[in-house]
């Protein structure tokens, strides 16, 4: 079943056409990667799905429901979470608070001014459960701004994961990481998809990582889809090699 489907999605910034008719189908439970050169429209595509930008034309369906043009908080509440290319977290809050915010929202507890001990307990438990998944339970009381770049990226993903999403959109989670951090994130993505059963759409330039974890790869080039296939077939695709991967690959 398609958990996400786009039909003829187009986005124009005045005269510049960033996306020119994207048809994409994402199946439930898969890791679906989007690759392509800079300026291909990948992040713009995420911005349309998550409601940051409004599509010029076309439709976006989530579980067969039309979500085109809905505001970010509504899309988030429906179950689509995202992370950002540039770390986007709550810097002056603790790691714990960063995660707890998402939990409070999905549990609808932000207006509970006199939470019972049970409520406080399960909010804390769920928060620590997420901290454990991202491996940051020992840094719970550290200010997010004081974390290393790699940990910030992990936390960014944790905030998204804590929303208990059906789909998690990851925008370049490996950008700027050292090889060890890179491996940790790759491992984490696999864990989220496998154990937590979250569908993942991944934008990433690290093609080795992409090919190793993806079930399906879509290649964007100049606002269009030029190929979509299993990783091993994308590797061999002439068009993709020409436009993006290069000869040595």
């Amino acid at each position: 079943m398609n958990i996400l489907q786009t039909k003829g999605v187009k986005k124009a910034f005045e005269k510049f056409i960033a996306l020119n008719g994207i048809d994409l189908e994402v199946k439930e439970g898969e890791i679906h990667s989007i690759i392509g050169p800079n300026g291909a429209g990948k992040t713009t595509f995420f911005n349309l799905i998550s409601g940051k930008l409004k599509a010029t034309a076309g439709k976006i369906y989530f579980n067969e429901e039309d979500i085109t043009g809905k505001p970010p908080h509504e899309i988030a509440q429906k179950g689509i979470a995202r992370t950002f290319q540039i770390v986007n977290i709550f810097l002056n809050l603790t790691v714990l608070e960063n995660i707890m915010i998402s939990i409070l929202n999905i549990r609808k507890k932000t207006f509970d001014f006199f939470p019972s001990p049970q409520t406080q307990n399960y909010i804390n438990e769920e928060t620590f459960k997420i901290l454990k998944v991202i491996g940051m339970e020992n840094q719970a009381y550290t200010l997010a701004g004081k974390l290393s770049h790699g940990d910030k990226k992990k936390l960014d993903m944790g905030i998204g994961l804590a929303q208990n999403p059906k789909i998690l959109l990851l925008d370049e989670p490996m950008a700027g990481l050292n090889p060890i951090e890179n491996q940790a994130i790759t491992h984490l993505i696999k864990k989220i998809a496998g154990k937590e059963k979250v569908t993942i759409i991944l934008i990433e330039h690290d093609v080795n990582a992409v090919f190793s974890i993806s079930d399906m790869v879509t290649v964007f080039h100049q606002g269009r889809v030029i190929a979509e296939d299993k990783p091993e077939d994308i590797r061999e695709n002439k068009l993709v090699i020409e436009a993006y991967l290069g000869e040595e690959f």
Binding site: A81, R82, M100, I101, N105
Partner: protein, 317 residues
């Protein structure tokens, strides 16, 4: 509770006892000043809540201060001599005005928000100034009574300076307690997430406009209550209560006391009113002195007076 928390609690209790007992020995002018300090502290807490915990700098809090003041003044003059109806009216009217202005203002942030709230406050000022038949125009509403506080068979006359002071103190204590509760609640955390990163907060699933609007209204109602008390204390309401310089006062007080400290607005109001009163008597040009104080604070003590003490003694007050 750990050692530090007990210390903080002890200090708070000490301050409350001080505020309760001190007035017995104060001369009437000192009592008036202390009363005004409590009122302006409430006003500053209104600003502090919206600025320090939601990240929105309102330059138009005077609008609600004045709306509260005029509501109470008009109700006392024409309708009721007990406090309930006038104060309920003040709260209701500030709520409605804040809802309308807030609904339009929370769509923008930062300096745009500051200017929009300022523009709306100046509109309120113009209305108060020009609507002669209703607001008394330039003269405002003089000779406002302080009314009676009647609970069951008790009828306390608030014209007495002491009675009115304790009335203010009780309201102050209740409002500060509620604010503390708000800030430390889950709701407070949600607001701080908006302060930190409004974009991410909306992607987490918060309808951020709604949260900011609620905080805006709370802040406005606090300002309105402060205004209502001020009109009773000074026994008059006048257009300058809504002027932009009045909006500036809670900002300055909070800056002096410390924008990151819960006790900041109170200490700020205390220092500001104390210095203003006595320096004006001694050197006359108090504004020049205020400028120098602000310069020193902004250059060397960003956290204000309380921020400095908190750092020095390692406790959060």
């Amino acid at each position: 509770m750990n050692h530090k928390k007990w210390q903080v609690l002890a200090i708070y209790i000490f301050v409350i006892i001080l505020l309760s007992v001190f007035p017995i020995i104060l001369p009437s002018f000192g009592l008036y000043l202390l009363n005004e300090i409590l009122i302006y502290a409430i006003f500053s807490y209104a600003f502090y809540f919206l600025f320090s915990h939601v990240g929105y700098l309102s330059f138009g809090q005077a609008a609600y201060f004045a709306v509260g003041a005029y509501s109470v003044a008009l109700m006392y003059k024409h309708v009721s001599s007990t406090i309930w109806l006038p104060f309920l009216t003040a709260i209701t009217v500030t709520f409605i005005v804040a809802f309308i202005i807030g609904y339009l203002s929370v769509r923008v942030t930062k300096v745009y928000f500051a200017f929009l709230t300022l523009a709306f406050a100046q509109m309120i000022y113009t209305i108060l100034f020009l609507w002669q038949s209703f607001t008394g125009g330039d003269d405002g509403i003089p000779n406002v009574p302080r009314g009676y506080l009647n609970i069951y068979f008790m009828k306390i006359n608030l014209e007495s300076a002491h009675n009115f002071y304790y009335f203010t103190l009780i309201i102050f204590a209740i409002l500060i307690f509620i604010l503390r509760k708000l800030i430390t609640s889950y709701f407070g955390l949600a607001l701080r997430s908006i302060r930190e990163n409004i974009e991410r907060a909306s992607f987490v699933g918060f309808n951020t406009h709604r949260y900011v609007l609620i905080a805006f209204i709370i802040s406005a109602v606090y300002s309105g209550i402060a205004g209502a008390l001020q009109a009773s204390l000074a026994k008059m309401a006048y257009p300058e209560l809504s002027y932009w310089s009045t909006s500036g006062e809670p900002i300055l007080m909070t800056l002096i006391g410390g924008i990151y400290s819960f006790s900041g607005p109170f200490i700020g109001a205390l220092l500001y009113i104390f210095l203003k009163t006595y320096l004006m008597a001694i050197i006359g040009n108090w504004v020049l002195f205020l400028g120098i104080v602000l310069l020193i604070l902004l250059l060397f003590f960003r956290g204000g007076v309380m921020g400095f003490f908190e750092q020095k003694f390692g406790i959060e007050l």
